[in-house]
């Protein structure tokens, strides 16, 4: 029996536009194992960010969660369905920030420009716990030190604009982790950063994950980042899950033609002077455009493919 912190079942999200209803998520299902890093990888329009927002119940009109369950099992607590929670349910407040928290792509927009960083981190604590302001500031300072902010007695009183991009993202991570959430969702946390800073932030997230032993959902489009962080990988395309497997299964021996195409398109893996493979050159549209249910293979990975293609793979 596996211990999952979150089980997503048939989650469907729709957006109403001038031109009809668009299905951002088409009934996706997957599990997040407790204490592990799960990466969701996909290109724009794959629905990976929508998934993250749905977990936090942050889908605003014109979008709406059309159907599905999000079964969240807090450590030692009773599991409950996040989607079934009423807007007034106290557990919804718990979900946002206390049990689950989120790190966004753009650190500048996630921080308020008019409050000092210490104030913002302390506020995150005070939202969920009844302690004194002094206590909250003390804990905020500890957390900021932990995410690598030096000279804390001075820095804690500074404002976001006085920090560099990488430092801001550290503050956002401190805010997200200060209540010790069981699940941390990182939505493209390093996309806006330079490579060297990206390496630092990834290290930080992984180190803290090992220390605090929480579960992480990592959303990214960069397969390099996936390879460096994830235990389990979920490949999404056009609001559907195409393949789920361990990081080695997906990146070393991908079975789905789309995953293969995605890997072949990375310049880092291609030989110099060689033409890059494009997804169009790997598969015919038919194979990835038609939705097929996920099938579990012998080695534990799940894949969405036509019966014929599936048979071919099993025979191999």
């Amino acid at each position: 029996m596996t211990d999952n912190i979150l089980e997503i079942r048939d989650l469907a999200v729709q957006f109403k536009t001038d031109f009809g209803v668009t299905r951002a998520l088409n009934g996706i299902s997957f599990e997040l194992p407790r204490g592990k890093v799960t990466a969701v990888v996909g290109e724009s329009g794959s629905g990976k960010s929508v998934t993250a927002n749905a977990i936090m119940r942050l889908i605003n009109p014109p979008g709406k969660i059309a159907s599905g369950n999000l079964i969240f099992s807090p450590d030692g607590g009773t599991p409950f369905d996040i989607i079934a929670l009423k807007e007034t349910d106290p557990r919804l407040v718990q979900i946002r920030g206390d049990l689950i928290s989120m790190v966004f792509q753009e650190p500048m927009t996630a921080l308020s420009p008019v409050y000092s960083v210490g104030n913002q981190v302390a506020e995150a604590i005070l939202c969920h716990r009844h302690i004194t302001k002094q206590q909250a500031w003390r804990e905020a300072a500890e957390m900021l030190v932990r995410v690598g902010i030096d000279d804390i007695s001075r820095r804690i009183h500074q404002y976001p604009f006085e920090f560099s991009g990488g430092m801001r993202q550290r503050v956002v991570i401190a805010m997200a982790l200060v209540c010790n959430p069981e699940l941390l969702i990182c939505d493209e946390p390093t996309t806006a950063l330079d490579v060297t800073i990206q390496a630092e932030i990834l290290t930080l997230i992984l180190n803290l994950q090992q220390e605090l032993n929480n579960s992480v959902l990592f959303i990214t489009h960069d397969l390099g980042v996936v390879a460096q962080t994830a235990d389990q990988v979920i490949v999404m395309y056009q609001g559907r899950v195409l393949e789920i497997g361990s990081v080695r299964q997906i990146l070393k021996a991908p079975l789905h033609p789309y995953t293969r195409g995605l890997l072949a398109a990375i310049p880092a893996l291609a030989k110099k002077g060689q033409r890059l493979e494009t997804i169009a050159s790997v598969v015919g549209d038919e194979d990835i455009e038609t939705p097929y249910p996920l099938t579990r293979l012998k080695d534990g990975r799940q894949i969405s493919l036509s019966p014929q293609a599936l048979e071919r793979i099993i025979n191999e």
Binding site: A199, V225, A264, A265, P267, A268, K272, L276, T278
Partner: protein, 271 residues
Amino acid sequence: MNENLLEVSNLTKCFDEAPVVSDVSFSVKSSETLGIVGESGSGKTTLVRCILRAIDPDSGTILYNSQNGWREMQVLTNVDLIPLRREIQMVFQDPFSSLNPRMTISEILEEPLIIHGVGDKSSRRKLVLDMLAKVQLSKDTLTRFPHAFSGGQRQRIGIARALMLRPKLVVCDESVSALDVSVQAQVINLLEDLQEELGLTYIFVAHDLSVIRHICDRVLVMRHGRVVEHGLVENVFSDPKEDYTKLLLSAIPSPDPDIRLRPEDRKRLVL
């Protein structure tokens, strides 16, 4: 050995007295691809904008080998630059803001020809159609507006516009950075095909080292407005001389989970 197409020496540009590009010298050979790589604030965008004379450099020389002999770009007036504009073009980073949202694709592609008084209406239309075929877009794109296209398609339109006047030198400023991996691969392939077909010279600005490694012949590593390292791509990537280049290279997350860096390895990366 090809002859030089562009020679930049001691180029300096300051904003509010702070040097953004300082004392940069390099040259570009005809038909090669020169990569300029650096993190944000390295001055790489300012450098190419100076070369294009979108902004005026403070000092230094930019020599360009035009059809009519060598020209000193930095001293030319806007009017004198117009004939050179036919030979040097640019592909922008953001395929969303670089196309005028109120013009149809046909107007966008025809504009360079109109500005330089090329041909009459029917011959211009033929040139537009030819170019559209070259960037693999269909004829019915012509009457549409930019918002009807995806990022990759818009970037193809941007490339088509840059090539309408048959330039010799094309500056690609982070032209594939905003695209999804699969689309990025298509655009990179397209740029390489066009280079071969039309004998183009590229200056390719990027922060993504793997893209640079894939398509460039030579590379310029920039940091804080200065050139840190300069050389053939193979040499710089396999045997970097400078600490900063080493740091940059080791920071690229490898898509192979077997060469995953342990946290203690990463810590050593910090300069």
